[in-house]
């Protein structure tokens, strides 16, 4: 699925580092109008931040305080903060292993999808062949297939292959699910690269492999970065696929599955849940803040996976 009105040069517009002047001329808005505007934005920001801030504050409070008083009371003296919640979930609840499992699942799944998609995207963008349009339309259709529809047969397939419950099964599944979007996004970007470059290379006798590795791939670096971030966040944040394909193997559980289990088993032990949730959020939030520009560009350039 794409967002048509946005073309390559204006993609930057949505990103924080934009080149246009920061705000439109306010027109003839009255002074009270401006105040209402700032107030509504402030309210929206507070509503958006409070849930996460509350959890964050509580994750550093001692268990007794968490269960007896609200997080807002901790904002006034006397201050008592502690790291004990974090050390307990990491060592005793197995979050350290799950953290590594999440990395083991996410990184290969991200590399795999990019490796498989890149060649196909180049072929769709710069080669002519019979059936190209039909195949690509099918791909656009596959973008929105709900992955629920694949679960039962894949579970059976993985069991038959003897890889049920392994990382390999999740890597393969995530690659399959991420592939239509990856090909679609990469093909649209590669197709937008200047034609003259490829024609000149062909005239100079460059083989398609040369054009691909020397021209298309380096020039597509921004969109590859965007896709890598997407896939990383999808896989890191995924619950359903991990639950279905490695659910029964406790040693291989990623953070999402482990934490959702903890929600049920720890129930009211908020001091532990809060710390666990934050450990789970650290990686995606860091990646997101550091690479927001690519992320936004990817979203506005060709938006959503099914």
């Amino acid at each position: 699925m794409t967002v048509a009105p946005v073309h390559a040069p204006t993609l930057e517009a949505g990103a924080p580092a934009r080149t246009r002047p920061p705000a439109r001329t306010p027109g003839r808005r009255s002074r009270t109008g401006r105040i209402v505007l700032h107030l509504s934005l402030a309210v929206i920001m507070i509503v958006w931040l409070v849930p996460a801030v509350g959890l964050f504050v509580n994750s550093f409070r001692p268990p007794a305080a968490v269960s007896s008083s609200g997080w807002w009371t901790a904002l006034a003296p006397p201050y008592e903060f502690t790291f004990s919640n974090y050390s307990e979930v990491l060592s005793r609840q197995g979050l350290d292993t799950a953290f590594l499992n999440s990395l083991f699942i996410t990184i290969p799944a991200t590399v795999l999808v990019l490796a498989v998609a890149a060649f196909a995207a180049y072929a769709f963008a710069w080669m002519q062949f019979v059936g190209k349009d039909v195949i690509f339309v099918v791909m656009v259709g596959l973008l929105v297939v709900p992955l629920q529809v694949t679960l039962v047969p894949l579970l059976r397939l993985f069991a038959d292959l003897g890889i049920a419950g392994t990382f390999l099964s999740v890597w393969l599944a995530h690659t399959g699910f991420g592939l239509p979007f990856a090909i679609y996004l990469l093909r649209n970007y590669m197709g937008g690269l200047p034609r003259e470059v490829f024609e000149a290379a062909a005239i100079d006798g460059a083989a398609p492999t040369t054009s691909f590795f020397r021209l298309a791939l380096p020039m597509s670096a921004p969109v590859i970065a965007a896709m890598a971030i997407f896939q990383f966040l999808w896989v890191w944040n995924d619950l359903l696929v991990a639950l279905v394909f490695i659910g029964p193997v406790p040693g291989n559980l990623p953070l999402t599955v482990l934490v959702s289990n903890l929600v049920n088993s720890l129930g009211g032990q908020w001091h532990l849940l809060t710390a666990a949730a934050f450990i789970m959020m650290v990686v995606p939030v860091a990646i997101f803040i550091a690479l927001q520009r690519y992320f936004v560009r990817g979203i506005t350039g060709g938006a959503v996976k099914g």
């Binding site: 946005v6 705000a23 509350g54 498989v116 062949f129 039962v152 592939l179 944040n237 990646i287």
Partner: protein, 319 residues
């Protein structure tokens, strides 16, 4: 641990390397093929690995699920339409369908509506990037993390539940958000809105900035109020973008699973179809019914699929 590290390393380095090897092998083989045939064969060999993946992990399973939806518990005998009849008659499944419809309508209205509001408001202030980052941040985290965050917002005890602290602060009784339908479904949808508004806002904001300033200035010179400009100029120009975002959010609503799984696990009638399917698969071990639910989800998405393909065709036509 070491074992996993080796496998992961093998995959991260080995798979791309073997794909590159495959492409070079293709080029070597193509030298033996008559030159005039090469331009036809080469693209097919280049896309072959991707097509193989799609066939095995998307196309085959989808078709197989449709087949299994007409079979019994363990996919041994064909049972006609009985799994679908079960869906229409079973109380719990019908409740899940109703909830999915609530999700569809209110998640879409909430995410797109608030997203539009924020996009329009934020366009007029200098601290735009800050607001955007704040609203956008929930998109980076998992539904599971959002579930934990909001379970704690909704907690019944005013000592820990932020919302109930506010409610009791006004002198009212604390509300049990999760134990009453339809309140629990709406409570879950709010979490979905909190996560998805950023997505709608970013795209709408980009669309907003592609509307020319001259157009808006001309309207202002003609004496239009800001509200008139929004209704008569901005909104109509944004409509195609709004349609696209709405389809994206509708898909998210239809596939909703994680939030419900983490926060209520479908208790007190808050179940949606994907959760029902998961239960049919792993709690009741009935693959036929699970497959029928998946097929219904798939059919619900087919119109969006067609819409997307049409849009794609139109875009290609003007490329």
């Amino acid at each position: 641990m070491d074992d996993r590290l080796t496998t992961a390393f093998f995959v991260v380095v080995g798979v791309p390397a073997s794909l590159v090897g495959y492409i070079f092998l293709v080029e070597l083989v193509l030298r033996l093929v008559p030159q005039r045939r090469v331009p036809r064969i080469r693209p097919l060999l280049w896309i072959a690995p991707a097509l193989a993946f799609l066939a095995v992990f998307l196309i085959y399973p989808t078709l197989d699920t449709i087949r299994r939806s007409f079979m019994d518990r363990l996919s041994e005998n064909y049972v006609g339409w009985s799994n679908y009849e079960y869906m229409w008659t079973d109380h719990a499944v019908r409740g899940a369908i109703v909830n999915n419809l609530l999700w569809l309508v209110f998640l879409t209205l909430g995410a797109v509506g608030i997203g539009l509001l924020v996009a329009v408001l934020v366009d007029r202030v200098r601290y735009e990037p800050v607001v955007k980052t704040v609203i956008f941040l929930p998109m980076a985290i998992s539904f599971v993390a959002a579930g934990v965050i909001w379970r704690f917002m909704y907690d019944f005890r005013p000592e820990s539940g932020t919302l109930n602290a506010i409610i009791t602060g006004f002198g009212a009784d604390p509300v049990a958000f999760f134990s009453e339908w339809p309140l629990n479904t709406f409570a879950l949808i709010v979490v979905g809105v909190w996560m998805q508004v950023g997505f709608a806002m970013v795209i709408l904001s980009a669309g907003l900035k592609s509307i020319s300033n001259d157009l808006l200035e001309a309207a202002r010179v003609d004496g239009a109020t800001e509200w008139q400009i929004f209704r008569k100029v901005t909104f109509p120009l944004l409509l195609p973008t709004i349609a696209v975002i709405s389809t994206a959010v509708i898909i998210i609503a239809l596939k909703a699973f994680d939030i419900v799984y983490v926060m209520t696990n479908g208790n007190f009638n808050s179940e949606v179809l994907a959760n029902r399917m998961y239960k049919e698969m792993f709690t009741f071990r009935h693959f036929g019914r699970a497959s029928a639910i998946a097929v219904v989800l798939f059919l619900a998405i087919v119109p969006i699929m067609i819409f997307n393909i049409r849009r794609f065709r139109e875009q290609e036509a003007i490329r």
